[in-house]
């Protein structure tokens, strides 16, 4: 004992899918358990926060942290884990880029509270009660963590060493990362532990993708049944493949559905949504501004589609906060 590296797994604003991804290692999970000591995993283990606090700084070999950061409690926990850990891996789209909970940055705390506890159709709240940080009762005070205005990526709160992309990360990439850590064969700090090429280069439909995709009209999956063989973009369906990193196993494509970008951009791209927009617009099959704007009107929700997984990590970060928010 004592020689095996200590591993922590923690979750923040997330769904539990990343925990499932670990369990989906199936038989491999036994190898992982044999090679490391998992010393903190609140969803599964009875270790508490004070157990982590009692550990020596740097004594955890690696912390895998999933989920975006939305509450004060999550910030405190990841700061604590950073202090105690040699390496921190941002695990999954939410920790990496904000993920779908990151779409919360189109709004803010006040608006979320108004909707959830104020105007929701099924609400019965005549006294306009909202959750409070502290509630006095006749037996004692109850507390809740603060719900923040802005969803942050993990590396906006603490220093991150590596990123495991995906919603959720696929088993082969998880095992590769664990093996690299165990064998000490680690790439430079800041590396995203997945192939650094676009999804298009691994797409099973790439043979049907012309070098230039002339787009004269954009369509939606609502209005068409996607062809099973053809490049989605050639069909006029928005597919984030050109601006998205490969390595996912083309899972959505195998279900005949276009990519929504959960792996984030490749290294050479600064902003996934902007890169996609640029790729898309340059394929518009017209030089006429009016026609181009007509084609562009087929993009009904740019923020929700181009930044579905990455709004907090994008150059935009969030919709501007205005007075009293």
């Amino acid at each position: 004992m004592g020689k095996k590296p200590k591993v922590a797994i923690y979750w923040n604003a997330s769904c539990g899918g990343c925990e499932e991804a670990v369990v989906d290692l199936a038989e491999d999970i036994l190898k992982v358990v044999a090679a490391v000591d998992i010393i903190f995993w609140p969803v599964a283990l009875d270790f508490k926060r004070e157990d982590v606090e009692a550990m020596k700084d740097g004594s955890i070999a690696v912390s895998f942290i999933n989920g975006a950061i939305r509450t004060s409690e999550q910030k405190e926990m990841v700061e604590l884990l950073r202090k105690k850990s040699g390496l921190v891996v941002a695990f999954g789209s939410c920790a990496h880029m904000g993920g779908i909970p990151g779409l919360g940055n189109v709004t803010n705390r006040k608006e979320v509270f108004e909707r959830v506890y104020g105007t929701s159709e099924s609400l019965h709240n005549p006294e306009k009660v909202t959750p409070q940080r502290e509630t006095g009762t006749d037996v004692g005070t109850l507390t809740l963590p603060e719900f923040c205005d802005t969803v942050q990526t993990l590396d906006q709160v603490i220093d991150v060493d590596y990123y495991l992309p995906g919603c959720a990360p696929p088993p082969d990439l998880i095992m590769n990362a664990i093996n690299a850590i165990l064998e000490g064969k680690l790439p430079p700090k800041g590396t995203v532990l997945a192939p650094d090429k676009s999804l298009c280069s691994d797409c099973p439909r790439k043979e049907t993708k012309p070098d230039e995709i002339p787009i004269d009209k954009l369509t939606r999956v609502t209005d068409t049944t996607p062809d099973k063989e053809k490049c989605f973009l050639e069909q006029g369906l928005i597919c984030m493949g050109p601006a998205t990193r490969s390595g996912c196993g083309e899972r959505c494509l195998s279900a005949n559905m276009p990519c929504r970008g959960c792996f984030g951009p490749t290294t050479e791209v600064l902003d996934q949504g902007a890169a996609f927009l640029s790729a898309l617009a340059s394929n518009f099959d017209t030089k006429d501004p009016d026609e181009a704007s007509e084609i562009a009107s087929g993009v009904v929700d740019p923020i929700g589609v181009f930044y579905m997984y990455g709004l907090p990590s994008s150059l935009l970060k969030r919709v501007r906060l205005t007075e009293n928010q």
């Binding site: 004992m1 004592g2 604003a13 769904c15 539990g16 899918g17 925990e19 499932e20 991804a21 670990v22 038989e27 000591d37 998992i38 010393i39 995993w41 969803v43 599964a44 283990l45 009875d46 508490k48 009692a54 939305r70 779409l103 189109v106 709004t107 909707r115 959830v116 506890y117 929701s120 159709e121 099924s122 609400l123 019965h124 709240n125 909202t130 959750p131 409070q132 509630t135 006749d138 109850l142 809740l144 963590p145 919603c167 999956v221 609502t222 209005d223 068409t224 049944t225 099973k228 899972r251 959505c252 195998s254 279900a255 005949n256 559905m257 009904v300 929700d301 923020i303 929700g304 579905m308």
Partner: protein, 497 residues
């Protein structure tokens, strides 16, 4: 001397949770609170999104039951567009949902709820886990469970692309159906799943029902609440996990309401407390009377036992036999015993497996006609399925281009949120006396919420729990061969004997 006991975080629960127990001067429980310190605001940031993306966005609410959200969302989008999927598409969706319900329910029994019974509610912490279960039922069962889970999840990823957050539901149908080879595989898995479910019920019968102590705990007053019950039923009032009308029975078992999801706002309302981010749904026509049970209180319950209470039977033959047996042992319907949730879950496990096999064997799922393209202007719609943890309702309103203007969600776990608080408090009051508290007692308090929360993630994660906390490994003769434990400094240590 007043005392406060905090269990934070409570374990083997999907999501964050916290229990606060307050004792009076005599050391008896004055009050207990079950708090949820989390919120993400999906209803708000759904506004502006394309409605056909909602089946890809809303599963991220829960990575443990993403399939349930994907189904509820897909059905809601159909309703928004006023489109009916072809029969093959609906069957393919229900097939995927059945595979999901089967794997989820199976794992709950063996990994999460199971240890409390198979090993024992106050057994030492070290044994109250999956290894303890395996010690009782045999090691090969563990392999069986892992393999069954994997094969069932492959059905979901075959059709849905991804098992965590599937993507196949599109307005008016599915993006892909099975090939003939895939279908043949589904049939094989379905057959094995039925057998597996029967095996699980046999284990439950041998280990739990044949033990009078356990049966006494199940039927005892500490884990009992006389509430209303809600669940989806088919045209014959049989349990249906994918479609049908929402039926509510009162604490005496009489039908109180039966309605399509489009009328949910006439029946369900949500109460807010300042000390939790979670909302507390109740029956609007009865009203919110606080955290109390009985006919005058609008508190209702959802998920396995609630669904069986709210129905008049199971639509598949083997599950029906088990349904009759359970209610005869529990002394009739409705059964108010919270811990009988575990039993009801196994009956639903059998039903889901039987239904999976039925659907996989239906030639229609091989049809090419799996899509009806919408031709109406999108507007407003509601959709419902039964998630493992209860009735799950989505409701979207859009503009004419299909952008979401309003989204409202009654998420399955919410259906039991008031009851979970009541159950935790009642168990704490019944079990903690004169300030005497130990691990076994606190676990029996946690059992009060665990019964409602068939969370596969937590459940399967318990597999990892055991080698790391406090484990005794024994040879077949019962001799201790190795001990794994945590020392005072918090380090995990192993000792070979």
């Amino acid at each position: 001397m007043a005392k406060r006991i905090t269990i934070d975080p409570i374990t083997r629960l999907e999501g964050h949770g916290k229990i606060e127990i307050f004792l009076d001067d005599a050391g008896d429980v004055k009050n207990a609170f079950f708090q949820i310190p989390e919120l993400r605001g999906f209803e708000k940031f759904a506004e502006g999104r394309l409605v056909e993306e909602m089946p890809r966005i809303t599963p991220k609410i829960c990575g443990v039951c993403p399939t349930a959200h994907h189904m509820a969302s897909g059905k809601t989008v159909d309703a928004v567009y006023g489109v009916t999927p072809p029969p093959a598409a609906s069957k393919i969706r229900e097939l995927v949902n059945s595979a999901f319900m089967t794997e989820d329910h199976a794992l709950h029994f063996f990994f999460l709820g199971g240890p409390d019974f198979v090993v024992g509610p106050t057994a030492p912490k070290a044994e109250r886990n999956i290894l303890g279960v395996l010690g009782k039922v045999g090691l090969e069962v563990g392999g069986k469970v892992i393999s069954m889970r994997k094969r069932l999840r492959e059905i979901i990823s075959t059709i849905g692309g991804r098992v965590i957050h599937p993507v196949c539901n599109i307005p008016g149908g599915v993006s892909r159906g099975p090939t003939k080879e895939e279908r043949d595989q589904f049939i094989a898995v379905g057959r094995d799943a039925v057998e597996f479910a029967q095996f699980a019920l046999t284990v439950f019968n041998d280990v739990v029902l044949n033990n009078k102590t356990y049966v006494d705990i199940i039927v005892g007053d500490i884990y009992k609440h006389n509430t209303y019950y809600m669940g989806l039923v088919d045209a014959n009032n049989k349990v249906n996990l994918y479609d049908g009308q929402i039926r509510v029975v009162d604490p005496d078992g009489n039908e109180f309401a039966k309605f399509p999801v489009s009328q949910y706002l006439d029946h369900i309302a949500e109460h807010v407390e300042p000390w939790s981010y979670i909302k507390f749904p109740f029956l609007k026509k009865v009203g919110w009377k606080g955290f109390v049970d009985g006919k005058d209180s609008g508190v209702y319950r959802v998920s396995p036992l609630a669904r069986l209470n709210a129905s008049e039977g199971m639509a598949t033959p083997l599950a029906q036999e088990e349904y009759e047996k359970m209610f005869s042992v529990l002394g009739g319907k409705p059964a108010h015993n919270t811990l009988a949730w575990h039993w009801a879950r196994l009956i639903e496990l059998l039903y889901s497996a039987e239904r999976l096999l039925e659907l996989a064997s239906d030639e229609e799922i091989l049809s090419d006609n799996i899509r009806t393209i919408p031709d109406k202007t999108p507007n407003e719609g509601m959709g419902v399925v039964e998630a493992p943890r209860g009735t799950l309702i989505h409701h979207y309103k859009t503009d004419e281009r299909g952008r979401v203007q309003k989204a409202n969600l009654i998420v399955a776990t919410l259906g039991n949120s008031a009851a979970m608080c009541m159950s935790v408090e009642k168990a704490a009051k019944g079990l903690i006396k004169g300030g005497k508290v130990d691990d076994g007692i606190l676990n029996m308090v946690e059992m009060a919420f665990r019964a409602y929360d068939p969370c596969m993630a937590c459940a399967t994660h318990s597999l990892l729990n055991t080698p790391l906390v406090d484990v005794v490994v024994r040879d077949p003769d019962g001799n201790e061969t190795m001990r794994i434990y945590r020392d005072d400094a918090g380090n995990v240590r192993r000792e070979k004997k």
